[in-house]
Symmetry: C2
Subunit: 251 residues, 2 copies
DNA sequence: AGCATCGCAGTTGTCTGACAACTTTGCCTG
DNA sequence: CAGGCAAAGTTGTCAGACAACTGCGATGCT
């Protein structure tokens, strides 16, 4: 475990991928424009075709290049916009509470309040059953002092599933993964003692009740309050989030 | 331009990448766990090392696998959740109105209504100036019958910038890129003639006015109406979108 | 025995050449 | 002039080899 190469390793293919991406940006190629052939790229970068293919493969995975066998490679999107990432890749993914968490949480807030409202409209009996299951598991975790983080995530995904929109469901899963570390403190020993887990559970039950009742605005409000609570538990400042106007106005 | 391969093309490496990703999920491998060697994967999938390397390369770009020369490949995150993408890679990026656009548009709706509301709270004079510029360019395009799609995108990005949340701004850019083809018809010759461009412009100006006034709920309502209009122009069915309750209720 | 060093097997990274699958182009024929 | 067909060009896949690097055990020295 001595990893000489850890840290800085200018993998050749990485280098070519970066240069190629930069070249696309410099040339201001538009989506649909054709890239040079692999042979040309080999000569230009002075590497073998395997390296070029690996570099192009990465750009393909990033969504900014598409290839068609027999035809060529084409720009599919402006560099960096083919996929959406939250964390900057240079950061440590294991780091808890990364800087800028507040911004990420705000993104989650905007999306999840809408998703919850939509779920209240479209939930089926099956959706309700899944939410009820996750809720029961969290209740059990709460009573026994166990870790209910996974069930917490499952509940929020179940809510997204109830929208019957696969894009929303996948986005919720994505956010859940990215924010997994932020859910840990709530269900830690400290979280149990401080009442964070109980507080979160009450929020979940309010969300659940509103969705079951099919009350769109109540669901939005419950989600908003739950997320504001979660943000406060993380030491963030959820002040000035929209849609709390109505909620706070009514209160 | 006959693209026999358009539509269904189970590229071998794509297939392997998907199966490998699924396998990781089934085995419930945790971050840090080691993957089988390339040789083993070659035998298991019955393909050459080039294909395996291309598949792994894709997972690397997705952020769920890391490789170390001389050591092996390791899981870095739960599969499929390192990045967020909208379009399934088997679709043709040039195809307008891809299937499932309705779901994508709904995602945009939920996000952008919130973003617009937030922008109304946080916009600075500089933000307003940028929005005004984009608006003016669109007005010019409208009068001259030109293509204002790029300025359309710039306006929506300027709104997102006004939230002063870089994550929201990047998400807006991402969505704008992904939905670029859906903006085309509005600014086409047909769109000009049918009054779509003018209608869109009126929506933009209502959004702008609400943001300038700092009226959070009016901004949300204006964005909602604008997006519903855009969806209708694309032949989608924006019925049963939340937050229209309030808007329609007041109307 | 303890320890440092060395070397070897295993793995990923890169190179080379070849063929298969597919697309595009342009000529050629009817 | 339309349609078909062949050839060239491009990406996808295969196979083998070597380079660079890691991990670990063996070896030899103190």
């Amino acid at each position: 475990m001595c990893f000489v190469n850890a840290g800085r390793a200018p993998r050749l293919s990485d280098d070519v991928a970066r240069q190629l991406e930069q070249w696309i940006a410099e040339q201001q190629l538009q989506p649909g424009d054709q890239l040079p052939t692999e042979k040309v790229l080999c000569e230009r970068f002075g590497v073998s075709r395997a390296v070029v293919r690996e570099a192009v493969s990465r750009l393909k995975a990033d969504g900014c290049v598409r290839t068609r066998q027999g035809s060529g490679a084409y720009v599919a999107a402006r560099p960096g916009l083919g996929v959406f990432r939250l964390v900057q890749t240079d950061g440590d993914p294991l780091a808890s509470l990364p800087p800028g968490l507040s911004d990420v949480f705000e993104l989650r807030y905007l999306m999840e309040t809408g998703v919850t409202a939509l779920a209240a409209r479209r939930r089926t009996d099956e959706d309700v059953a899944h939410m009820r299951d996750a809720l029961a598991r969290m209740r059990a975790a709460l009573d026994s002092g166990a870790d209910g983080a996974a069930d917490d995530d499952a509940f929020h995904v179940a809510v997204a599933t109830a929208t019957h929109n696969p894009q929303l469901e996948r986005f919720q899963q994505f956010m859940g993964q990215q924010l997994s570390s932020s859910r840990t403190p709530t269900w830690s020993a400290v979280g149990h003692r401080a009442g964070w887990a109980r507080h979160a559970q009450e929020g979940h039950e309010r969300i659940f009740a509103a969705i079951v009742a099919g009350d769109v605005e109540a669901a939005r409000k419950a989600a908003a309050e739950h997320l504001v609570g979660a943000a406060r538990r993380l030491g963030l400042d959820p002040a000035r989030w929209p849609a709390l106007d109505a909620a706070e106005g009514r209160a």
